[in-house]
């Protein structure tokens, strides 16, 4: 059985445009939320979002390409370049056909489609950009990363709404396990802060409302009232263990297993009994050959909607039973908000960093305990703790669930 380790990370998040600054903010318990600045949102009372700041696509990709590509693709390219550099993977020394790219996204190139739709409406079909097709698809970024890095191995995108990042990371790791690739550039990206999508999410009545943007996302708190859209990308270099060892790579953590499932219940709401997410967690534990009490930390989906946090807590209790009281469970969405298709990947990276550093990031804005949410949510302050096994859970519209497990790297 081929083992898979994490040898590089790349992060573009509302908390920072690299791994170091994002991690530092997470540990300091800082919020990355603010008022929407990306578009005119004056139609809303409290237009809150977690935007990536000071990001200039032209600094990370060819300036000519930067003008043409969607913001979402730019996030994906930036995080992929960071992750490869962090892994010190020299593509000129690799068999490029053994390096693949699998990145997930919930919606793909949101900005491009909407801009071009306006042109179609106002100026007619002949004015639609000839570059639209190649830049609007959810797999556009995986193709661009392959072109930019030369990675010629397996290449496609995975979408599972808000469970995308976890599903993509898990499937990429399976490709390494089964020998289709030795290295996968894997993760998720999203740039959903576009007026029509914001309007769509607002119409769903799913977005949080609060006068202070920094306090808008309050996972597991009794007063929580919705999620907030975030944006960015998370990329992990998943590498076959012997391949990593042979080149003396630094190892953050070992990938252990993933599980996915579907509630088969409702296109929007999670099933109240949490059976779907529980099933994904059980499958991941079974595939990792771990008992529930082996897990110390769960980076929860924890969106801060009344339903999600209650259902997720119930599912954790159902799977972990008495071990649930010893678990540390935090929602880092309290700081970076809901990065949609990027969320599972960013949170997978956070799990790898948690195992590596022995520090658990907190759930901030936790003030009022909810009787339905009665786990140890690592409230408000980071905690020093040895984490031997960490799990990241994700739950998406359409009933998709994913659970992915990492363990602290120990050469044995």
């Amino acid at each position: 059985m081929r083992r898979v380790v994490v040898t590089g990370l790349g992060l573009i998040t509302p908390l920072g445009n690299d791994v170091a600054s994002t991690w530092e903010s997470l540990i300091a318990g800082r919020s990355g939320l603010g008022l929407v600045s990306r578009f005119d949102a004056s139609a809303y009372d409290h237009p809150i979002a977690a935007e990536v700041k000071d990001f200039n696509a032209a600094e990370v990709v060819d300036p000519k390409l930067a003008r043409r590509i969607d913001l979402s693709s730019a996030f994906a390219l930036a995080a992929s370049h960071q992750a490869l550099a962090d892994a010190r993977l020299d593509m000129t020394q690799e068999d490029a056909s053994r390096v693949g790219v699998l990145l997930g996204t919930g919606m793909g190139s949101a900005h491009q489609i909407v801009e071009q739709q306006r042109i179609l409406d106002e100026k007619g079909p002949r004015r639609v950009s000839p570059f639209l097709v190649s830049h609007m698809l959810p797999d556009t970024a995986t193709g661009l990363v392959a072109i930019a890095t030369g990675a010629r191995g397996p290449n496609f995108a995975v979408t599972a709404a808000c469970a995308t990042g976890g599903a993509a990371t898990g499937e990429a790791a399976e490709m390494v396990v089964r020998g289709d690739a030795d290295v996968m550039i894997a993760g998720g990206y999203e740039a959903p802060l576009q007026p029509i999508y914001y309007a769509g999410f607002n119409a769903m009545k799913a977005l949080a409302d609060h006068e202070d943007p920094a306090k808008a996302v309050r996972p597991f708190d009794a007063t929580r009232n919705g999620f907030i859209l975030g944006e960015g990308a998370g990329v992990l270099i998943l590498e076959e263990l012997e391949h990593a060892k042979a080149r003396g790579a630094r190892i953050y953590a070992e990938w252990r297993a993933a599980g996915t499932s579907n509630d088969a219940y409702d296109m929007v709401a999670a099933a109240e009994d949490g059976h779907g997410i529980a099933q994904a967690m059980r499958l991941a534990l079974r595939r990792a050959d771990l008992e529930p009490d082996a897990v110390q930390y769960i980076n929860a989906h924890g969106t801060s909607t009344p339903l999600n946090d209650r259902v997720e807590t119930r599912a954790i209790r159902e799977v972990f039973r008495e071990a649930a009281d010893d678990l540390m469970v935090s929602s880092t969405k309290s700081m970076h908000a809901h990065m949609m298709g990027a969320a599972g990947a960013v949170e997978a990276a956070i799990c790898a960093l948690t195992c590596h550093h022995g520090i658990v990031p907190p759930t901030i804005n936790y003030e009022h305990p909810d009787p339905d949410c009665d786990l140890d949510y690592v409230p408000n302050e980071a905690r020093q703790a040895e984490v031997r096994v960490a799990m990241s859970t994700s739950v998406g519209l359409g009933g998709h669930n994913s659970a992915i497990i990492f363990s602290k790297w120990e050469d044995a």
Binding site: P125, G143, R152, T159, Y197, N262, Q279, L397, G398
Partner: protein, 413 residues
Amino acid sequence: MPEERRVVVTGIGILSAVGVGRDETWKNLLAGTNGIARTTLVEVDDLPSQVSGEVPDFDYSTYIDRKGARRMDRFTQLAVCAAGEALDQAGLDTAAEGDHIGCMIGSGIGGIGTLEAEFDVFFHKGPNRVSPLLVPMFIPDMAAGQTSIRFGLRGPNYNTVSACASGADAIGTAFEVVRRGDAVAMVAGGSEACVTRMSIAAFANSQALSTNNDPNTASRPFDIGRDGFVIGEGAGILVLEDREHAEARGAQIYAEIVSYGQSADAFHVTAPSENGEGAARAMNLAISKAGIAASDIDYVNAHGTSTPLNDKFETMSIKTVFGEGAYAVPVSSSKSMIGHTLGAAGGIESAITILSIRDQKVHPTIHLLEPDPNCDLDYIPEGARDLGIKYAMSNSLGFGGHNSSLIFSRYEG
């Protein structure tokens, strides 16, 4: 380590321009029926491309009630109905085994029709009138999501996107899911409903679509006069099942899925890599993973889009892989009759490849009147043919440089 599981096909559902349902589609393909006609789903008078492969008289009511249908984009409706057909044939006990049956349905762009309609609302009536269902109807994973809800499939579930290879990657990924034991069966394939003004305008302006508006010659893969693809829609969904599980319940087995190879060109966002190098790598990977030789492949269902570049480079890649043997392998393009169904293509064409194995019969490439000298293989231009098939391959090649090859074989126990 446990012995590797084998995976068989126990259900097939197809909705295409030549038929609503598996049997009608297959009968018409064998007869060489052209499904391309003037577009009726949207106004096309001001568009450069005015023909398409629409699913004729699509009626969702067998599997979806009217209220449910209003909450689904057409690509999701097509997927649910094709999945229903496949599941009806397979006869799986979804009520008892739903936890162990998953779903993967690829789509290139998802609910683009819904997005276009809601953009109209947004633009003319303001943000507060946008539907709360915009996001859940548009996102491309919803075909897999709604299919799971409709049929109670609670196992592994997501959507793969790789442009025109999406459906093939869904089937390949689902095959690996069953093989590694994460599910006993997967409902897998592709779905697309892209006959919309935005899709047509965008593909036309990228010079990919045929501007020949004569439905009888617009889609003509490998012909010297080809000038682009004809957009199509539809869904092709399979039930993939652990062989032992299928045998134990006495299921009818149509074929075995034996291998999946995937590669990236890492070359250009729209053009295929020089000489079809990436496509050749995917085919070679699939052949070597199957533990067979290229000469064992008896039939290739080509990507064959009818664009000048694709058909030339795909032909070259087949020659790279098969060597001199390339001239002895019959190759046909279903797109000559149903158009290019984008993310659904890999699903529909896998289904067609399996039916070819079941019946030991291959369908023709129609509209191939004057061969391109660069395309000199046996494309079965004269009509359907009886053919002894042990192994058959389905190729899918997508914008962005995604290449997928699936190999199916006659099931012999």
